[in-house]
């Protein structure tokens, strides 16, 4: 624990009077004047274990119940179909499906099969991978408003087979599916959307 103290460098107070001057009793750990300037530590201090290290790798794992709505949606993906639901009360067709309408709070019973195409609502050209590594070839996350759904309803996916410079909001795109034998009932059963 006291490794932290021994690796501290003496820090001279730069601005006189700007830091409270504590009346510190002398002792091995309290020789310096108290300052609020932080503790300078180098990478070496960590490598050499001069500061206390405690590592703990959590063993967290979850198996979420998909339930009725998501379960049927994923089953549809496995079959190469995009399924949505329609709230009659709100006259709204949405994807991904849900068991109830969050607007009118009524249960939703009506399922519809949607076209696996739509238009780009918004997109980004992503040069940084999830683990912060810079990418030469960017990835292309996009929200795609699926044909036949109500305004501002889309699914988040990736774009492919397209020059990033050519992508435009409002561009028509179509799903590129994995082979039936490779589909497992997951959002990744669609590989990406490409321009029509």
């Amino acid at each position: 624990m006291n490794g932290l103290e021994t690796t501290r460098k003496e820090t001279k107070l730069k601005k006189k009077g700007s830091v409270p001057q504590a009346n510190v009793p002398s002792g091995p750990l309290l020789k310096r004047k108290m300052a609020f300037e932080g503790t300078p530590l180098s990478g070496k201090d960590f490598e050499q274990g001069k500061v206390l290290f405690t590592t703990y790798k959590p063993k967290l794992a979850y198996a979420w119940d998909t339930g009725r709505a998501i379960g049927r949606y994923l089953q549809g993906l496995k079959e190469g179909r995009l399924l949505g639901v329609r709230c009659r009360h709100c006259d709204r067709t949405v994807i991904p499906p849900r068991a109830f309408c969050e607007r009118c709070f009524r249960p939703i019973e009506e399922w519809v099969q949607l076209q696996d195409r739509g238009v780009i609502n918004t997109f980004s050209i992503s040069y940084v991978r999830w683990d912060a590594v810079r990418l030469e070839k960017p990835t292309l996350p996009a929200v795609i408003d699926i044909e036949g759904t109500s305004p501002r309803v889309g699914i988040l996916h990736l774009l492919g087979e397209v020059d990033p410079k050519q992508i435009k909001v409002g561009m028509k795109v179509k799903a590129v599916w994995k082979a039936a034998s490779e589909r497992i009932g997951a959002i990744t059963d669609i590989q990406y959307f490409k321009p029509e």
Binding site: L52, Y56, P58, W64, D65, G67, R98, A99, E102, R103
Partner: protein
Amino acid sequence: MDRRVAVIGIGTTGFRAASPEVSYREMIYEAAVKAYSDAGLAPDQIGSFIACSEDISEGTSIFDEYCPDQIGGARRPVHSVSGDGLHGIITAAMNIQTGLFETALVECHSKVSNCIDPVEIMNYALDPIYNRPLGEHPEFIAGLEMRRYLYESKAQPKDCAAVVQKNRAHALKNPWAAYPANLELEEIQDSPATFDPLREIDRAHHADGASVVILASADWVKKNRVKNPVWVKGMGWISEDPGLEMRPWGRSIATQKAAKMAYKQAGIRSPRSEIDFAEVDDTYSYKELQHLEDLWFFPLGGAAKAVRSGLTRSDGKFPVNVSGGCLGMGNAAEASGLQRVLEIVTQLRGEAGVRQLKRVRQAVAQSWRGIPTTSCAVAVLSKGVNS
């Protein structure tokens, strides 16, 4: 402005060991629809929405964002409380007492069956520098607490067994309970030790379930002529010294102080004579005994005598956990706290069917936040304004 707050609607899915046929959203929706129906309200009549959850139990950071839809809170004022259901009730009551809202909704749920390793989640609550490196199963803490509690109170392990027997038997009359059982005292005592003196059977099993409670201001209750309001007369919540090195292991000081806070608000001087029944935390059998004493119902050691004599049975003079408690209903995390409120409201309204208690007017709900915490909350609920 009348600052009193009442429960005007309740809904629950009940608890069960697992719930694979519904998503958490669908499960909560069921409880919310029931609560709205019970209160005769629509979502747009709710002022403030409060959802109690822990990100790490859900497996999603900022779980707040996943709460609104299924409680009718989309595009409405919603916030999360990372606390027990009773903390949620207290937060809702205070929201109403600001005068900003006439009504508020509290939601709690458990999908603990979706956590592959719930013990690891409990372990993750231990101090990462002082305690976790020892690599112990975190429930040893219950063993430490139980030992010290038995030492100080002179209660016996067989008294804890009697708590298990009572609560699991109470659950037989509760359709919302996941673990009803008719157990012999001997077979409970024969249950293998896990963290001695704790036995396997002293610990409540996990359960899934969702509960929703709707509250309203006294003005709203009057204006809408609510037939059977249950008043939140007193509230208290305390977090004690959290360190495992410094806590008073035998007692729940947090419960003592939270109870004093709640009783003062409710004008209660003699808890045992002014309270008709109680729903208290029993995630481990000894906790019920400890909590009853720290709620000032019994002197130290008195709760063991009470369970031995049958006083705290549903047909006794002071019924405790007539719902079955966590031992009988299952431990549904935050939802267990809210379920205590649901049970009390059901009883005070006279809607408890086969487990209905007679002549009850006022009750106490108490929660503990579980291992390794020393955080507790207490609420006094009352049928009449002046009872």
